[in-house]
């Protein structure tokens, strides 16, 4: 049985998410408060669309939310997302609820009243912007566990100190792991004896505290 996912509100988010979820063979239902958005969403192949306020129990019932595997509340109002998640959990036996919130201070509160997972878009975005501003050598960053762990890409500059060295020769902090080396069009899963070459892109997994030390170590000239 394909997992059932319900996306509530958030037009742009629903559009992107539903496409990728349907591709991954999820059964996706979208609930949206705006009729305009519903009409546009209805053009997506394989997406079931319902019009209505997702924080109202009868709308969730009509949309057949009962027993779904995942519900994602993405409205712009944090309080609505809370109620949607709680209704889904308590009244409709949804296994996993996810709330998107705009005020990062509410994260702990949401988790403590039983929302399974909380995503704060503003925190995520400002983290990314911060990284782009502070560290030029870092490319993409993906925060995990509320930003405590980061996955990111480091480009090795032409005359960096580490070029030609084996991975075991480079003294990276303990809490940093090199997960992958991208060289031209190939990707290498590195071992201790992998050599670093100029122009390599390293995918690192690091705790937030040691991230900058690792980047410094790898890019210093």
């Amino acid at each position: 049985m394909k997992p059932k996912v319900v996306l509530i509100d958030g037009y742009d988010e629903t559009r992107l998410l539903s496409r990728s979820l349907i591709e991954k063979r999820f059964r996706v239902t979208a609930i949206n408060e705006s009729m305009d958005c519903c009409e546009k969403l209805a053009e997506i192949n394989g997406l079931r669309v319902f019009h209505g306020d997702g924080s109202k129990p009868f709308v969730l019932e009509d949309a057949g939310v009962y027993g779904s595997d995942i519900a994602i509340a993405m409205s712009e109002h944090d309080d609505a997302n809370l109620v949607i998640c709680e209704l889904c959990k308590k009244k409709f036996n949804v296994k996993k609820t996810i709330a998107i919130i705009s005020d990062p201070n509410k994260t702990d509160f949401f988790l403590s009243v039983g929302v399974d997972s909380v995503v704060c878009a503003i925190t995520a975005i400002s983290n990314i912007i911060e990284q782009h501003v502070l560290l030029n050598d870092i490319r993409t960053i993906m925060p995990i566990a509320e930003g405590q762990v980061q996955v990111f890409q480091v480009n090795i500059p032409k005359n960096a100190n580490v070029i030609g060295k084996h991975l075991w020769e480079i003294s990276l902090p303990d809490e940093v792991v090199v997960g992958c080396v991208l060289r031209g069009s190939s990707s290498i899963i590195p071992k201790g004896d992998t050599c670093i070459a100029s122009g390599d892109n390293l995918i690192l997994l690091a705790s937030d505290d040691y991230k900058e030390a690792a980047v410094h170590q790898l890019t210093k000239i």
Binding site: P57, D79, L82, L87, K90, K106, F109
Partner: protein
């Protein structure tokens, strides 16, 4: 916030009532409690709303977002005896009421809800609810057919 100190001291007996939302219901409850000599803090995001309070209202008016004050663990809220959430939005009322229970374990938490169907959310949290539709329906019923 020191302006509330005098309130806190004299209110040991019955405690402060916090009212979120100064609409018709919020202001009417605030006026009544204030008349009875109770200590009231009323919160609304719009300062114009406080015009609904009677000129003799003796409580404290705060312009701001009630949910945010709960999040910041505001000292005056921590000492409250009861919280009444009567903003215009059901979802906001539910959230404020849950914060009052979850953060401060306030005994008496009342939320006004337009939609009685959402009840399952707060039953588990020990939040009392009033629903205008249910109250009006039973009132009309008793007016039409007398007491049942």
């Amino acid at each position: 916030m020191s302006i509330f100190k005098d309130i806190k001291n004299k209110s040991k007996d019955n405690g402060i009532t916090i009212i979120a939302g100064c609409g018709r219901l919020g202001s009417s409850i605030a006026n009544r409690l204030s008349e009875d000599g109770k200590d009231v803090i009323i919160i609304d995001s719009n300062s114009e709303s406080f015009r609904k309070l009677s000129p003799t209202f003796g409580g404290v008016e705060i312009v701001g977002d009630a949910a945010e004050m709960f999040l910041e663990h505001d000292a005056d809220i921590r000492n409250a005896a009861s919280v009444i959430a009567v903003t215009n939005h059901d979802n906001t009322n539910i959230m404020i009421a849950q914060m009052a229970k979850e953060f401060f374990h306030i005994d008496k938490v009342i939320a006004r809800l337009y939609d009685p169907e959402r009840e399952c959310v707060y039953r588990d949290f020990g939040i009392e609810t009033i629903c205008p539709v249910v109250l009006s329906t039973s009132k009309v019923d008793s007016m039409l057919y007398g007491k049942r």
